[in-house]
Amino acid sequence: MITYEINTERSLLPARMFVNKVSYYSLEVLKRYFETFDPQYLFFTGDLDITKSTRTSGPIYLAMLPLILAGVYSFLSAGKIRPLVLLAILSIPPSLIEVHYETISRIPVFLVLSYFAACGLTKLVKTKRTWAVLLLILFLFEFSRFVHNLLIHYHP
């Protein structure tokens, strides 16, 4: 299929210098690499395979988003880039899998994201306690919603 697409595109003369297997596959890999950070996948729907997701929640909770951002920012501000490098490296294996939005290979990434969220929460508890409490309430709500959907409405 991909070879067919490449050949079709290359049949158009001006496109020849831009379309080749290297550029095509590089784009496909990059696409899958950044699928890991797609908000819809992460927080709302998860894996496309119904046996690996309830399709009503993502692999991590939306309440963790501000915490992850706070965590990442605190690492960057402190000049500590190792956890970020780890995140970047762990996102490579899923980018080589043919299936889009595959979850099993992304589990290590979620662990690092959870670590960032925990760091963000620690920081937030010290500086903006009200926000931390609100996010924890949202987290608990999302958790109960996930359990409810999993136990009551999930029929893989």
Binding site: P14, L30, F34, F37, D38, P39, Q40, F43, L76, H148
Partner: protein, 556 residues
């Protein structure tokens, strides 16, 4: 003048990219045909296609359109005639001028000429911006005025007496220009009021002048904001009009034993809000921004590209980080603008919309330019050459994709560029003089508006015959017909037996196997630009006695 030489070159680049083959780079879509024909109607009769005198919202193809773009197009049609170029003139011109406004805005905000030039250049070559300022999109016109309004506010807060007047003009025009701006403009105004609250106190006299002018300008449209048409538009496009299916509700309530759990996790208000949140965040997804754009919508996407270049991805991240780290207060303005811009798109039914989130393009490109400048200052000569190489490669790839790969994917269908109608209208002209009724199939939506547009049909004549047929309140509807034309779905098992009628429709409506000689005469075929058959035109004739049609005719 010398100091503006680079800006002039960037403006010429913007102008060239937007005006090159403007009339023919894509077929005319039905939105553009509606804008164009209604402007023509106003020019000839002072009323819209339904005969309503100088309306502040135009109903066309059953959809409501904001008035500014249509009224702006009137003088262009007067000078250049009713053509594709005329319809696309204003978005292309104002899109090119946006580059200049952005330059002055960024220069004012950051006091950095290089950043201002780079932001302008990024806007000039932006796929997102070109997409909606090259085609006849009302959002391209409205977004220019929004940008002007924000720039005016910044200058007004900085002490320029004309600043707030420009804001009043810009924001009012924007509200008249596009429905999504009616949500975004109030949001950005509130944000600007908060952001510049101290400066406003210092410039309260000119602020009040601007405010009064703004209120006077907006006042005429307020009644139409409360009208049934506006409500219908909101219900048709936003999640507020979304009704969950009875099947879904039965399933959920059947499985949930507790009403508390149902209201907690499945109430309509919760699910709609959750969906809106999902849609909001989709506008920041790498897939939308850098890889696929709005993949399902041929009018919004460019093949194998997002709405931005891939090279923007690292630049935006670096720009964001550098800006957050800086002590400039202005960072909150850029981030606030960026975070508010997708809200109109988030509350609509589409998962993602490049059109309704169009106001994101300015702050996100400022971030990209900020990142590019940060990188530029830290790298050596060879890397600079490589960076320029990547930029040139990306722009050329975009142009190849835009002009070569993308068009064949969007020739067909109501969501696409409606190719084939221009040729069909031209083909039908000889048949208008003799014979019976001409029936045009509505599978590709809105044929009546294309016939009106390409025939340059006298609006006064159409206004007397204008009739909209809607299958249900949620559908856009169709113009029923005029003169000998009838626009409706063709049902060939029945229609093949009508006598002395001409039918024009896609091959699936007029299957080759059912076009029997002696029963029908094939008058001709119209093709899409890639050679695929778009329309068949056939005439029914009296077939031999007996058989299928005789029975059917007895029932007609």
């Amino acid at each position: 003048m010398k100091k503006y030489l680079v800006l002039a070159v960037i403006f010429i680049v913007a102008l060239t990219l937007r005006f090159y083959n403007l009339g023919g780079f894509r077929c005319l879509n039905w939105d553009e045909a509606s804008f164009g024909y209604n402007a023509y109607s106003v020019l000839k009769t002072g009323a819209d296609e339904y005969g309503i005198h100088l309306p502040l919202q135009f109903k066309s193809v059953g959809d409501y359109k904001a008035p500014l773009y249509i009224y702006l197009t009137v003088p262009v049609i007067k000078v250049l005639g009713l053509t594709e170029f005329s319809v696309r003139f204003w978005p292309a011109l104002l899109g090119s001028l946006s580059v200049i406004v952005l330059f002055f805005m960024v220069k004012e905000l950051f006091n950095d000429r290089r950043l201002a030039l780079l932001s302008s250049f990024f806007l000039a070559v932006s796929p997102w911006h070109i997409q909606f300022t090259k085609a006849g999109a009302d959002v391209g016109v409205a977004a220019f005025f929004t940008l002007l309004g924000i720039y005016g506010f910044i200058r007004g807060a900085g002490g320029a007496k004309w600043g707030y007047i420009l804001t009043a003009l810009g924001f009012s025009a924007s509200i008249y220009g596009y429905f999504a701006q009616r949500l975004f403009v109030p949001l950005i105004v509130l944000f600007l009021l908060f952001f510049y609250r101290r400066e406003i106190v210092k410039t309260k006299k000119s602020f009040l002048t601007g405010l009064i002018i703004g209120i006077i300008l907006i006042a005429p449209i307020v009644p139409s904001l409360m009208s049934g048409g506006h409500e219908e538009k909101i219900l048709k496009t936003t999640i507020f009009g979304y009704q969950r299916s009875a099947e879904y509700l039965n399933l959920i309530t059947g499985e949930d034993n507790s009403k508390i759990l149902y209201y907690l996790f499945h109430s309509g208000i919760f699910e709609n809000s959750w969906t809106a949140l999902n849609h909001y965040l989709n506008h920041f997804s790498p897939s939308f921004l850098f890889f696929e754009g709005v993949a399902g919508d041929p009018r919004q996407f460019v093949y194998r590209m997002g709405v931005m270049y891939l090279f923007d991805l690292p630049l935006i991240l670096i720009g964001l980080y550098s800006l957050l780290k800086s002590k400039k207060k202005i960072k909150y303005l850029i981030l606030g603008w960026l975070l508010l811009a997708p809200i109109p798109a988030a509350i609509t039914k589409d998962q993602v919309s490049a059109r309704r989130s169009f106001d994101m393009v300015y702050p996100i490109l400022i971030l990209s330019a900020y990142g590019a400048l940060a990188v530029w200052q830290r790298i050596g000569k060879s890397l600079k050459v490589a960076l320029i190489g990547v930029l040139i490669y990306s722009v050329i790839f975009y142009l190849v994709s835009f002009y070569v790969f993308t068009p064949p994917l969007g020739y067909k269908g109501p969501a696409g560029w409606s190719c084939g109608y221009k040729e069909l209208v031209s083909f039908m002209q000889p048949f208008k003089t003799g014979g019976g009724e001409i029936i045009v199939d509505t599978s590709y939506q809105g044929p009546y508006i294309f016939f009106l547009f390409f025939e340059r049909y006298d609006p006064a004549g159409y206004q007397k015959q204008a009739r909209l047929v809607q299958e249900n309140p949620n559908s856009l509807g169709e113009g029923a017909g005029y003169d000998k034309y009838s626009f409706r779905p063709i049902y060939w098992p029945r229609d093949r037996c009508s006598l002395d009628r001409i039918f024009a429709g896609p091959p699936e409506r007029l299957p080759e196997g059912d076009l029997k000689s002696g029963e029908v005469e094939i008058l001709g075929r119209v093709y899409f630009p890639d050679g695929e058959e778009a329309f068949r035109v056939v005439k029914t004739v009296l077939g031999p006695p007996g058989g299928y049609c005789e029975k059917i005719r007895a029932t007609i």
